[in-house]
């Protein structure tokens, strides 16, 4: 187990089994993938705001995507598809769940590593070819997949259906299959580690909420992803093996009747959303977990309603598995089934309200320190409110009749699974950076990043809701094709200006991130005076995390302001009877 500590470059940094190294590998893989996916979204937003403008430079830079300086319609759909797929699975899942999960779980529960270090390494090295396949699919003869991140057949099943339905779609499916394999390995590892490797005294109800949410998210992922695995394999067989899982008889392409029959496209939608909806919570719950941990540390008070939050997580987990059909209200599914899904879906409002209110309540009687990590948690709370309430409009079948597949949906899911998660990634990064690299990030740049990001990103995605109220549908290459949408075009300009600003603001974060790794101020073991276990070891945390003795836990994770004293807090590992540690006012 100790050999990697003194091993050479390759086993230490590349094929490492150390959870912290693997966590960082995931994190930086996600950063690289985010650069790609953000670039694609910049191209999309430029085109949507100014569909008639010509960008000769882009023709030179992206010769396959642009012609005479104009984005091609089929490439537009490829970019949308790849942006969504890569952001959801290869950026947010990787950074938030795999990245922070790997780094933080053993440190927060007092373990030396994951339960299966080799499986952990294998899971990372399965993601690398998945990323390469996904990116490489742009070089397929007819371009990358263009059927949306949901890949509904028959568009995704029949190569004759269009450019993007060829080799690009096959590579997309293979990359997704690898991703799922990797994510399942990671999830099993997380669950086993949290159940079996907690240090002495670390009962389940003493776990910090980041670990709790990652635990629930992993269970959800392991239960839900197999449905997509099955769907991906069946779709591959339909494409390559002549089967008809998702293809009915009588399909006509180019005057030719395809020799398929007996399947139905709705089956794929059920399988996809059986994963797809829990996947939303796989991403959102860890984001909220990080928000809770950060708000406790920088608010100097116990998390508001720790136990009710944990129970709310369980309720959300159960409900999230039985509501997938709310993505299919107008799909041709029985309207009676639709009503069931609608009634069930809006009950998630209850446990979700508990989490949101407990986050908000954690500011009550707090001693708030305005660190960039906390600022982004404030942003998270605001977005959870707006996005959560907006979700009710889509969960109600009758209003979804109008809003389905409109920009209201695009705005809503960006708020929930892009903004909430990215804000949590930022908060987590500012918070745990000292533990990852032994240095601080620059707090002033962190605040600049916050002030440039929050207004722009919120104006952009909230305005998308208005566009959706106006009836503008998603996946629309040229909105001006519709007369009733032309008066709304100015909204597209507002959205693009705001979001291009938000994208540019991320350069501040990137500079801060990279610069601080090498030149940031040195950080002590516990710079934030935090109570959880990861802060009882050196920064950066050494191989195997602690010296010869693992910390022993004596209390819950958030004992700040004990005995009513503002300065005092009790670390989880402090033995009973010891005086409370004293926090120094910032």
């Amino acid at each position: 187990m100790t050999e990697t500590a003194h091993a050479g470059f390759w086993t230490r940094y590349v094929f490492s089994t150390d959870h912290k190294t693997i966590g960082k590998q995931y994190y930086f893989t996600a950063v690289v993938m985010a650069l790609f996916a953000t670039t694609w979204s910049v191209l999309l937003r430029l085109h949507l705001a100014w569909p008639d403008a010509q960008w000769p430079l882009f023709s030179t830079l992206f010769p396959g995507l642009f012609q005479d300086g104009v984005l091609l319609p089929e490439r537009y759909l490829s970019l949308v598809t790849m942006h969504g797929t890569v952001m959801i699975f290869f950026v947010v899942s990787l950074a938030l769940v795999s990245g922070f999960g790997n780094f933080i779980i053993p440190l927060q529960i007092g373990a030396r590593d994951m339960a299966y270090p080799f499986l952990n390494m294998l899971s990372y090295w399965t993601i690398v070819p998945a990323c390469l396949l996904m990116l490489g699919s742009f070089f397929a003869p007819e371009g990358a997949a263009a059927s949306g991140w949901t890949a509904y057949p028959p568009l995704s099943a029949v190569p004759e259906a269009g450019p993007g339905s060829g080799l690009g779609q096959t590579l997309w499916l293979l990359a997704m299959a690898l991703f799922i394999a990797s994510f399942t390995m990671g999830g099993l590892n997380f669950i086993t580690t949290i159940l079996n490797l907690r240090t002495r005294g670390m009962s389940m109800f003493r776990l910090p909420l980041t670990t709790w949410t990652l635990f629930i998210a992993s269970i959800l992922g392991v239960l839900a992803f197999p449905a997509l695995t099955a769907a991906a394999i069946m779709l591959l067989l339909d494409r390559l093996g002549g089967t008809s899982f998702f293809l009915p008889a009588g399909l006509v392409f180019g005057g030719e009747v395809l020799p398929h029959g007996g399947g139905t496209p709705l089956l794929f939608q059920h399988l996809f959303w059986f994963l797809g909806h829990p996947e939303v919570y796989v991403l959102v719950l860890p984001a909220l977990g990080i928000a809770f941990d950060v708000v406790a540390v920088f608010g100097r008070r116990p998390v508001f309603g720790y136990r009710t939050s944990v129970w709310a997580l369980f309720v959300i987990a159960v409900l999230s598995m039985i509501v997938w059909g709310h993505h299919m209200f107008v799909s041709g599914m029985s309207p009676y089934v639709g009503e069931y899904f609608s009634v069930a879906t809006v009950t998630i409002t209850a446990p979700f309200a508990v989490l949101a209110m407990n986050l908000l309540g954690s500011l009550w009687r707090a001693e708030i320190r305005l660190h960039p990590a906390l600022l982004f948690v404030l942003g998270t709370i605001a977005v959870v409110g707006i996005g959560g309430l907006g979700g009710i409009f889509l969960a109600t079948a009758t209003s979804d009749m109008y809003l389905h597949n409109s920009y209201f949906v695009v705005g809503h899911f960006h708020l929930m699974i892009a903004v909430v998660t990215f804000f949590a990634i930022f908060a987590g990064t500012y918070h745990w950076f000292p533990k990852m690299f032994g240095r601080h990030m620059n707090a002033t740049l962190g605040k600049v990043h916050f002030w440039l990001t929050v207004p722009t990103v919120l104006v952009g995605f909230i305005a998308m809701h208005f566009l959706g109220m106006g009836g503008e549908q998603r996946h629309l290459y040229d909105p001006s094709a519709y007369e009733f949408l032309r008066p709304l075009q100015w909204l597209n300009v507002v959205i693009s200006v705001a979001l291009l600003g938000a994208a540019a603001a991320q350069l501040v974060f990137l500079v801060n991130l990279v610069h601080s790794i090498f030149f940031g101020a040195r950080a002590g073991a516990n710079p934030w005076e935090a109570a959880t276990l990861e802060w009882t070891t050196a920064s950066p945390a050494p191989h195997l995390n602690w010296g010869p003795d693992l910390p022993v836990v004596h209390r819950g994770p958030y004992e700040y302001r004990v005995d009513g004293a503002l300065e005092g807090y009790r670390p989880q590992a402090a033995p009973p009877g010891a005086p409370a540690a004293t926090a120094v006012a910032p």
Partner: protein
């Protein structure tokens, strides 16, 4: 000095969060949707209005609580102790749960369900039956003709000159009227649309009617509506269907009933042309 800077920073945060809330509220107060032009559409708008009126105050209340907490607890003075108590935590959870469940379930069941029932009701006798087939990237519209019966169609017969795939050997097919991207309906009468697909998924939607229904190959879809206001409205495909998705556009012409009948009388069967 430090205190003043801190106060300024907190004030700026309050302005930011109140500003975002105001932007959201003002934006949603504006009416963005095209004027409603179908009977059930008013009901759909009613659900949206109900949700705006109930969730809006919740959003504003949440934002106010947040800025009050920021103003009170982020400027540095000593907060009250103890930080928390079980009673507060209980009610802080229970009240929002009851409130949100009430808002959301009333929206789905009480306000929403009657409208949903109207949309998916069994078509009344006398409803005008029209078939719409979605294919890349156009809408093929078919009327049963004078005999009131749709003739046989077959996928093998679909070709450039025969977009509906009509079977000449079926007498019922002779008077079937076939149009491209143009749908004519009478105002005030229930329209029973039969939706068919033959290549990829599409979705038949008319924003002004608040109508949206996926077109799924292998499944006969239906949607029921009654247009209220004569005029021309746009049909949009709202399910990504390939590179031409954005131009898969049609028009619905809503005629006063007599004008509709006159229009119908001028049409001849596609096979008879």
């Amino acid at each position: 000095m430090n205190d003043r800077r801190r106060t300024a920073e907190v004030a700026a945060l309050i302005v930011l969060f109140l500003g975002i809330t105001a932007f959201t509220v003002v934006g949603f107060l504006r009416s963005w949707a095209p004027p409603v032009a179908s009977q059930h559409g008013a009901g759909v708008d009613g659900v949206i209005t109900y949700l705006l009126r109930t969730t809006g105050p919740v959003l504003v209340l949440g934002a106010l609580v947040m800025v009050v907490f920021l103003w009170r607890y982020a400027r540095g003075p000593r907060p009250e102790s103890p930080a928390t108590n079980a009673r507060a935590e209980f009610w802080w959870s229970v009240l929002p749960v009851i409130g949100m469940i009430a808002i959301a379930e009333v929206g789905v069941v009480v306000v929403g369900f009657p409208v949903w029932e109207q949309i998916y009701a069994r078509p009344p006798a006398g409803a005008v039956v029209i078939e719409v087939t979605g294919q890349q990237f156009e809408w093929i519209v078919r009327y049963p003709g004078r005999d009131g019966t749709f003739g046989r169609v077959a996928p093998e017969l679909v070709a450039k000159p025969n977009p509906a795939g009509l079977d000449q050997s079926d007498p019922a097919a002779l008077d079937d009227i076939v149009l491209n991207n143009q749908l004519h309906v009478p105002a005030g009468q229930p329209i029973d649309l039969r939706l068919r697909g033959r290549d990829v998924l599409h979705s038949f939607s008319v924003a002004a009617f608040r109508v949206k229904q996926d077109v799924v190959p292998g499944i006969l879809g239906t949607t029921l509506f009654a247009a209220t206001t004569p005029g021309r409205y746009e049909i949009a495909c709202t399910q990504v269907c390939g590179m031409g998705h954005y131009r898969m556009r049609g028009a619905v012409h809503v005629h006063p009933p007599l004008e509709y009948q006159a229009w119908l009388d001028t049409q001849t069967g596609w096979l008879q042309q």
